[in-house]
Amino acid sequence: MSIHPHERLIGAIARLILDPLAPPARHIAVGAASPIPAAASWLVRKLGHDVRLSLLHRPTGNPFTEGTRELFDLAGQGRIDLFFLGGGQIDGQANLNLIGTGEWPGRAARFPGSFGSAFMYFMTPRTILFREEHSPRVLVPRVDIVSAPGLSAPGVFRRGTAQALVTGKCIFSFNATAGRFRLASRHPGETQDSIRAATGFAYDGADAPVTADPTEEELALLRGPVCDEMLATYPQFCRQVWHRSDEKAA
């Protein structure tokens, strides 16, 4: 069985979670409809790391009893170390736009909305940005609408910002001091030119090594125990990536 591109993304995110230079990730929360970040978090757990996962929107066995309010309160308390965010647009200063393009409130193209991004991005020490589509349409010089800013003025309470941006083509690390992304690795099949051409914002690092494949151990964990954990919440994803379905859930 060849490596599915999603498996590569999952492995790459898991390595970002485990980055020894980043603040510790003892508690990771994963929002709704995020199978790849969820799988990466499970992989870290199944690799034996002592990390707590709070996964929203499991139909039963949800970890919370006050819905998303409890998630946001946890983040407010500083008890969530790492969260994942995406964006309809993401710019070179790590600003996120989940609201829409064109005039406010997204007259050209309306996205679903900000969800909790305008809060979570400030409250967690680390955010891993994830957006599979890597195109000039998504990675723009400047977002049309800022639903959550990547950087804040001095004095504004903020625990952290983006650690990295993971796309279908590459991984960018984010330098909060410079307010700029740097190419950290490119996925197999991509070149420095293909990435440059698909990226609307300027970034540092003309080239970078190829993103490492998941190890055999990681692949075995993904296809076994990680998939087991994901089946009930993400049946479609598990079918698509691992050709498995949950007999009970079906």
Partner: protein, 274 residues
């Protein structure tokens, strides 16, 4: 509390009401929304707590909605909420963007009976730039230079949701979805649909009480078997993903949406089944 017929429950909502509903993963009142469409509700000012889904898209498509305050509108795996997207593109509803914990916080302020409550984050977001009713002050407990957002209390005229069961005292079982209690506490009137009525007093049962909303907050209850459908309800039944996908497909056009309404909402058969 004697159950009210579902269409009578919908008749308790006046046109123009500020109506709060939970999202599709938290006891959304789908049958109630269909009843609102049947009663031709108009000018509703919806609040998605903290996001909105099927019921909101349906009400927007049916022309019931004047404005919507929420943090997002989504059909989950079925993607974009099509009538919402069309309404935004047409500018036919007023959209008041928030962010999830801000919605929770504004309701908590109303729950507590205070005029405002602070929230961290949000500063620098264009959401704030478009909220004339939100204020940033300098934190009075810091030595200066610590801006913090204050959000006004939000007390919906009506909260509506679909729960598991109710008793004769109007107590409502919502299980682990305790955030529904805050919506109920914050709202002036609470209308609830339930799968079934139960004997006795839910609050006297020490095992059930933690998942119960006190009837003091509840004005009326209607029976609506499978009243969350096509959305799921806790461990009672799962979401009907195929139906939501069908909705998402049909609702992509105004014509398709009319077909959907005729088949599932306003048809005598659909109506009688509720």
């Amino acid at each position: 509390m004697t159950p009210t017929p579902l269409d009578a429950l919908a008749a308790l909502v006046p046109d123009g009401a500020l109506l709060a509903m939970p999202p599709d993963n938290s006891l959304a009142p789908a049958a109630f929304a269909r009843a609102l469409v049947r009663r031709r509700a108009r000018g509703l000012r919806l609040v998605g707590v903290p996001v909105a889904g099927y019921a909101t898209d349906l009400l927007i498509g049916a022309g019931c909605v004047a404005s919507l305050q929420t943090s997002a509108v989504t059909l989950g795996e079925a993607g974009t909420a099509p009538r919402f997207a069309a309404a935004v593109a047409a500018g036919s509803i007023e959209l008041i963007d928030a962010t999830c914990p801000a919605i929770h916080t504004m309701l908590q302020a109303a729950e507590k009976g205070v005029p405002f409550m602070p929230l961290r984050g949000v500063i620098g977001s264009d959401i704030l730039a478009h909220r004339a009713d939100w204020k940033v002050i300098d934190n009075p407990f810091a030595d200066g230079g610590d801006p913090i957002l204050l959000l006004p209390a939000l007390a919906p005229d009506i909260a509506a949701f679909h729960a598991v069961c109710a008793d004769a005292h109007g107590n409502i079982y919502v299980g682990r979805r305790r955030e529904l209690a805050t919506i109920a506490h914050a709202s002036r009137r609470v209308l609830v649909t339930v799968e079934r009525m139960v004997e006795g007093n839910l609050l006297e049962d020490e095992r059930l009480a933690p998942g119960v909303i006190n009837g003091v907050y509840v004005e009326a209850v209607a029976l609506a078997a499978r009243g969350a459908w096509p959305i799921g309800l806790l461990d009672e039944y799962a979401m009907d993903a195929a139906h939501i996908a069908e909705y998402a497909r049909l609702a992509r056009t105004a014509e398709g949406f009319s077909t959907y309404l005729a088949q599932y909402v306003t048809a005598p058969l659909a109506s009688a089944a509720e």
